[in-house]
Symmetry: C2
Subunit: 151 residues, 2 copies
DNA sequence: TAGAATCGGTTATGCGAATAACTATTATGC
DNA sequence: GCATAATAGTTATTCGCATAACCGATTCTA
């Protein structure tokens, strides 16, 4: 691949990251959330209480990041952490009532953001977009499933 | 749009950001670069010397970010900052010889990353990918002339 | 030409996210 | 059963990026 195309692609991904995150931040700010925290709330709303290691896996970020996010969400009263009875190392994270209500708000926001994001694209492109993005992500994922391709 | 699809999309973008950036970081680390800095080098290599305000515009990040990035790249000897003769507020940023050599390294890396990223996708999808991503980016761009539809 | 607004840049601060190093608990192997 | 490895979580530190507040230089304008 020539550099022009490669740079266009890499730069496009970088810029999309910046802008999508910034837009999410702007939408989440009125709820008192910073980008990244919404993913944690949504994951808890979807799957139910879980320990931080599972959160780390589900969110695709590292344990220290989960520690900080849970601490702040706990401080703002949206989640609760309780020691796991079966494993004294682990702590179970769950939504509070406030957190559940907030997650519902986030869900609505999330739909609005997604619609805004894909505005103007043909429906068929929109339909295959998540799959394409997932492929791209898997291709550069150094986290698991070692052994991509060359060398 | 229902929440399932919306979340799939937003989450896919978030994860792609994380992974692509992490992969870029892993590739750039041997060169002594952190992700984000490569964009600055490539922009200087493509367009030539410019002032920081132009860099801020070209990279799509805010002036304080440029200040920090330029400072670190200057400290590592890859760029040079000189006061602009025509405007005593501005400082002109340009590549050093070391920076030019590094930019060439980055270009090669960038091609490898792009190929790795789109591996397994049909060529026609790859061809229209930059355009799609650009559309997504423009749709959520709050930076300039934004505020298109609703509300 | 004096005053106001604007622009270029920096500093201070806060956030998410990463790695590295550490503690405490649980699981394994001999 | 005890030493060793593996696991859950935290702390410390670094980086990119953002906003807010500020300073010096420039440009507009009345």
């Amino acid at each position: 691949m020539d550099f022009e195309r490669a740079d266009a692609l890499n730069q496009a991904i970088r810029l999309l990251s910046l802008r999508h995150r910034a837009r999410a931040a702007a939408l989440l700010a009125p709820l008192g959330l910073h980008p990244g925290q919404e993913a944690l709330l949504l994951e808890l709303a979807r799957t139910g209480p879980m320990i931080q290691a599972q959160l780390s896996e589900a969110l695709g970020c590292e344990p220290p990041s989960v520690t900080l996010m849970t601490r702040k969400l706990e401080a703002s009263g949206h989640i609760r952490r309780a020691p796991a009875p079966s494993d004294r190392r682990a702590s179970i994270v769950e939504l509070t009532d406030s957190g559940r209500a907030l997650a519902d708000q986030v869900k609505r926001l999330w739909c609005a953001l997604a619609e805004e994001t894909v505005a103007g694209l043909p429906a068929e492109t929109v339909a295959e977009l998540p799959g394409i993005l997932a492929t791209l992500t898997a291709n550069v994922d150094t986290r698991r499933s070692r052994q991509p391709h060359g060398s």
